[in-house]
C-alpha cells in the first residue's frame, strides 16, 4: 500500500512538472533566444544556442525607449492601484459587509464591465474622456484600467472580508465606534493581506493593458511597455526575433521582480481569505 501511495505521488509530481513545463518553457525558450543573434533564430532553429550575444539587450536597453516605457507603465499601474484600492475596499465592504436594498443588483451591475467587447468601446470612451480632459494622460489610462480591475477585485476581496468574524464590527458598534472608523481601523488592517493581493491584481491588470493605452495615450513620451513592445515585435515589415525576445523578457522582467518580492503575498492574500 505504501509503495502504491508513493507511485501515485511520484506520478502527481510528474504531472505537475509537465504542467509547469508547458506554462514556463516558453519563457525559458524566449530567455535563451534573447541571448542569441537574430541570424541564428531566423534560420534553422536549434534548441541549443551556438552563439551568445548581448546585442539584443543593448538594442533594448540602450537604443529603444525601454526605460521610459517601463517608467510609464509603472506610473500607470501605480495610479491604477491607488485609484482602485479605495474603490475595491469600499465596494467590497459595501457589497459584502453592509446590507442595503439593491446590493445584489449593484454587485451584478458592476460585473457588467466585462459584458461588452472592449474594442468597440474605444471610440465613445475617447469622446467621454476627452470631455473630462483625460486624453493623453496616464491618469485617464489608469482610470480605464481601474474600471476593469474594480469589479473582479471586489469579488476577490469579498472572500477576505467574509473570513473576518462579524463580531469584530459588532464589538466596535457596541463600543460606539463609528462605521468609518471601524472600516479604517479594524476592517482594513485586518484585511491587509487580502488588500495587498488586490493591489497586485490591479497592478497586473494595468501592466498588461494594451488597447486603451494605445488609444488614449497619444504622445510617445507617455507610451507604456505593451505599446512600445508591440512596436518592436510587430514591426511592420520585419521582426527581429532576437530583439523581440529581449523585449519580451524585458516586459516580463519587472513582473518577475514583482513576483520575487510580493508573489508569495498574492497567493497568501487570496487564499487566506479563502474564496467561497
Amino acid at each position: 500500500m505504501n509503495s502504491s501511495y508513493s507511485v501515485i505521488s511520484i506520478l502527481r509530481l510528474l504531472v505537475i512538472v509537465l504542467i509547469m513545463f508547458i506554462l514556463l518553457a516558453p519563457f525559458l525558450w524566449i530567455l535563451i533566444a534573447s541571448f542569441r543573434p537574430n541570424m541564428e533564430l531566423v534560420r534553422n532553429q536549434t534548441l541549443i544556442p551556438q552563439n551568445i550575444t548581448l546585442e539584443n539587450y543593448v538594442s533594448l536597453f540602450a537604443k529603444s525607449a525601454y526605460w521610459k516605457w517601463v517608467i510609464n507603465s509603472f506610473i500607470v499601474s501605480l495610479y491604477t492601484v491607488i485609484l482602485s484600492l479605495p474603490l475595491i475596499v469600499a465596494g467590497a465592504y459595501s457589497v459584502y459587509r453592509t446590507q442595503f436594498r439593491g446590493r445584489n443588483v449593484l454587485s451584478f451591475f458592476l460585473l457588467s464591465v466585462y459584458i461588452f467587447p472592449t474594442a468597440l468601446l474605444v471610440v465613445p470612451i475617447f469622446k467621454i474622456f476627452d470631455g473630462l480632459s483625460l486624453i493623453d494622460s496616464h491618469l485617464g489610462c489608469a482610470l480605464m484600467n481601474t474600471a476593469f480591475a474594480v469589479p473582479f477585485g471586489i469579488w476577490l476581496l469579498q472572500a477576505f472580508l467574509r473570513s473576518l468574524p462579524p463580531e469584530l464590527e459588532e464589538a466596535a458598534a457596541v463600543d460606539g465606534i463609528s462605521k468609518i472608523r471601524t472600516l479604517f481601523q479594524i476592517i482594513i488592517p485586518q484585511a491587509a493581506p487580502g488588500i495587498i493581493a488586490i493591489a497586485m491584481f490591479a497592478f497586473i491588470v494595468s501592466w498588461t493593458e494594451y488597447l486603451f493605452a494605445m488609444t488614449l495615450l497619444l504622445s510617445n513620451d507617455l507610451h507604456t511597455l505593451p505599446i512600445g513592445l508591440t512596436g518592436i515585435v510587430f514591426g511592420q515589415y520585419r521582426v527581429n526575433w532576437g530583439f523581440a525576445a529581449a523585449g519580451a523578457v524585458g516586459s516580463a522582467l519587472p513582473v518577475f521582480i514583482l513576483f520575487l518580492i510580493v508573489g508569495r503575498w498574492f497567493i497568501r492574500g487570496i487564499s487566506a481569505g479563502a474564496i467561497k
Partner: protein, 306 residues
C-alpha cells in the same frame, strides 16, 4: 415599521461606498454602450461622418448575414471550449497542487507568470513557436520523429481554433488555478478527515466535500469567465486575425473588423448590441439557475440568526 438596526443603519453608508465604483462603470461602460446603441440605429459608416437614422435596418441586415450568424456560432463554441476547458483544467491543476509537495511554494507563485505578461508578448511568442517550418514545436517534434509533416497550428482552419484556445488558456488558466486554490483553502480540513475516517475514496471526497465547497466560486467564475471568454479579442486578433478564412472569427473579431476595417461602425455597433443582449440573457438565466449560489455568496450575515 422601520426599526433602528445596526445593519439597516448601514444602508446609507453601503450605498455611498459603492457609489464611486458604480459611477466609474457608468462612465466607461454604460455611457459608451448607450452611444453604441445610438450609432446602431444610424447609417454611419465612419465615426463622425454624415448619416441618417435607419431604425432597425442594421439589425435586420445582420440577421440575414450568414457571416454574422456563423460568427455567433463560433463565439458559442469558443466560449464553451474556453470556459469549459479552462475551468476544468484549472480546477484539476488546483486540486493537484493543493496537497503539499516539495516546491509547492515555487509552483504556486510562478504558475502565474503567463497571466502577467502583455498579450502582445503572448501572441508573438506562440506565433513564433507555432511556426510550421521554423517554430520550435514543429522542428523539435519532427526532429524527434513524432511528426512527419509540420502541424499547421495557425494556418489550418481545423486546428487554428484549438491552437488559439490553447494559447488563451495558457494565459488564463494560471489565474483561475490560483482562484480555485484559494477557494480550496476554505474547505475545512476536518471535513476531509471525517470523510477519510468514513472510508470515502478520492472521488467521493471530491463529490461530497470539495465540489459543494467550490460551488460558489465555480458559479461566479462560470459567469465572469464566460463574459471574459466571449469578449476575448486581442489574442485572436494578433495571432490569426480571425483566420484562416473565417475559422476563428468570433463576434468581437468580426465586429472589430467590420467597424475599423470594413468602415461600418453602425453595423458593428448593432452586432455588438445583439451580442450584448445575448450575453445579458445568458447572464440572467445563469444567475437565475444558480441563484442559490449567488445568494450564498452575498449573504454575509446569514449565520447570525442562531
Amino acid at each position: 415599521m422601520t426599526q433602528n438596526d445596526f445593519r439597516n443603519s448601514e444602508a446609507r453608508l453601503g450605498l455611498y461606498l459603492i457609489l464611486p465604483a458604480v459611477v466609474l462603470v457608468i462612465l466607461v461602460v454604460i455611457l459608451p454602450i448607450i452611444s453604441g446603441i445610438q450609432i446602431s440605429f444610424t447609417s454611419q459608416r465612419v465615426v463622425g461622418s454624415e448619416f441618417e437614422t435607419v431604425g432597425l435596418k442594421n439589425y435586420l441586415d445582420l440577421f440575414g448575414d450568414k457571416n454574422f450568424i456563423a460568427s455567433l456560432g463560433r463565439s458559442a463554441v469558443w466560449v464553451i471550449a474556453n470556459g469549459l476547458f479552462q475551468t476544468i483544467i484549472s480546477l484539476l491543476i488546483a486540486l493537484l497542487i493543493n496537497q503539499p509537495f516539495r516546491g509547492q511554494n515555487f509552483v504556486r507563485t510562478w504558475i502565474l507568470l503567463p497571466w502577467a505578461v502583455p498579450a502582445a508578448v503572448t501572441a508573438i511568442l506562440w506565433r513564433w513557436m507555432f511556426d510550421a517550418t521554423s517554430g520550435i514545436i514543429n522542428t523539435s517534434m519532427m526532429g524527434l520523429g513524432v511528426l512527419e509533416k509540420p502541424l499547421l497550428f495557425l494556418a489550418n482552419p481545423e486546428i487554428a481554433g484549438i491552437s488559439l484556445t490553447f494559447v488563451n488558456s495558457w494565459r488564463y488558466v494560471p489565474f483561475l488555478t490560483i482562484i480555485f486554490l484559494a477557494s480550496l483553502a476554505s474547505v475545512p480540513e476536518e471535513e476531509y478527515e471525517a470523510a477519510k475516517v468514513d472510508g470515502a475514496g478520492m472521488w467521493l471526497q471530491f463529490k461530497s466535500i470539495t465540489f459543494p465547497n467550490l460551488l460558489p466560486t465555480l458559479t461566479v467564475l462560470g459567469l465572469v469567465g464566460t463574459l471574459w471568454a466571449s469578449n476575448v479579442f486581442d489574442i485572436i486578433w494578433m495571432m490569426t486575425r480571425g483566420g484562416p478564412g473565417v475559422s476563428t472569427t468570433t463576434v468581437p473579431v468580426l465586429m472589430y473588423d467590420t467597424a475599423f476595417y470594413g468602415y461600418n461602425i453602425s453595423k458593428a455597433s448593432a452586432g455588438a448590441i445583439i451580442f450584448l443582449l445575448l450575453l445579458i440573457i445568458f447572464a440572467i438565466v445563469f444567475i437565475f439557475l444558480n441563484r442559490k449560489q449567488f445568494i450564498l455568496a452575498n449573504e454575509t450575515f446569514k449565520d447570525l440568526s442562531k
